[in-house]
Amino acid sequence: MKNLSLGDLIRRPESGAFLGLAFVLIFFVVFGSVEFLKPAGAASWLNVAANLGIIAFPVGLLMISGELDISIGAMIPAGALTVAIITGTYDMPIWVGILGALSLGLVVGLINGFLVIRTAVPSLIVTLGTLFAVQGLILGFSVLWTGTTSVALSPAESGVIAKSIFGSFVGGSFQVTIFWWIALTALYIFYVHFSPFGNWIFAMGGDRVSARNAGIPTDKLTVTLFVLSSVSAAFVGMCQAILFNVAQVSAGMTFIFNSIIAVVVGGVLLTGGFGSIVGIFLGTITFAIVNQGIYFTTFDRNWSSLIIGVMLLLAVLMNNTFRIMALTYSPKKK
């Protein structure tokens, strides 16, 4: 193992995300207060980060492999409504509801994946289509079956076990999804950076034809990633429904842009082939801090979009620079 130098660190995909995070931390400590680093304050942005982060990982992996999935915006409320309708309205066991929500994610993911590999239509357009289709579907069915677009799911219907695993507050204000997020981070880091599987995703994003010629099952992998992102979105929606005891049709659209911002700030290249899980993790936290940190300052909260926009541009420029440094790097003559 060779020694890590500053140069080695800066060439990693997540270095931009790390500097971005440091920057927003300093920014909000200076202009706000250190309050937001204390448990009560940290909960506010950790909750945002956890829900976003669970979705940002598969969205980021898709981006690394050269695809986009924006149908997650409809899959979050779809997951929430499925569990609420099955268990809240039709009184079936909560586990049936959970299974239903995740199965819906599986089906939509399969549809996205197969449409992308079987047709030459870009995944942005395919998932734009399924985004609206799924949204219409859940809106239609929830009005048809429950007469409302806001379906209740009482704590009694969820049951103590499901409630505590998927939708409770730990220590007063920390959503239990934070733990899911952290566990998933470890899992993703292992499979993306330490197993051959991750290598294939990067290769696919770098050059799909060469990857297929090298024997990588690119079609299977693409479908798997689409399923992963749809199921993750349905999972987050389901957790929110169990947590807040209600599922709403409207929730979820903001996640589309937010997840893309988190992933890009995290150093993933929009055109594929470059990025890291740690980067996405840091990008997600950075986004969540900017999103919530504004409440700890004296600024009006409307300014937070400005900060996010500027941060996104800075992050992309910085990531570009670091990537060029990584590309032109060659070891010095010894």
């Binding site: 990067f202 290769a203 050059d207 990588i216 082939g273 790097y329």
Partner: protein, 273 residues
Amino acid sequence: MSTPILELRNVNKSFGPIDVLNDISLKVDAGEVLCLLGDNGAGKSTLIKTLAGVYKPTTGEVLMDGKPVDFHGPRDAQQMGISTVHQFGGTFPLMSIGRSFFIGAEPTKGFWPFKIYDRRKANEIAVKAVQEFGITRIDDGDRLIGGLSGGERQSLAIARAVHFGARVLILDEPTAALGVKQASHVLRIVLEAKKRGIAVIFITHQVTHAMAVGDHFAVLIRGAVAANFRKGEKTREEITDLMAGGEALANLGAEVESYMAAHEGHPPPVTPN
């Protein structure tokens, strides 16, 4: 002469009503470089893809070691030892040398589901394989492919193919995008591969490069083999004229001059064909 490793016998390929390859018969022996020359659109790409298992011949057969083979896709051909290296090396600019070398065949340690990609081993083998081909500038398997020169990328791709047991190496315009010095590196590696007993099919339209390494030449014109000859049988000018479609190039100068004489010094109009 021994049985050729790879042989095409009366191969035709058509896409619908369009005939692309016309009765092609070619063979290549172990430790021999076959140069496929041809202008753009002569059917070189289709021929390579037929050899590499991407396309199936409409009629005719492909033989390997004297036995007819039927490839179901490029993986099939690859498993039988036919490797194709494309113009841009078929590598991944943002991946490390070690990772891209072993793509699809990563060395691992540990056991399922905790198999770990063995980075150190991959880097070591990759760097060693490239250095054996004389590219000593590559000594760090963690470097990104995008940081290598075009020639080094080609060399890496060739070393990779040889490492994974290629017996027939198809090089698709490996020198087309390279400078003079880089191209000579690649040519040297072609000779090195040949020395190891690998059959090389070298596709190019640069006659100089072909003459430098080729043992055996085939010129393609409109999907048919217009000439098939061995080293030293034809001069450079003859080959160039053949590629341009017979005598056309040689007569071009005289034609232009006579036109100008007849039209008060105006050059002939260029007619798109």
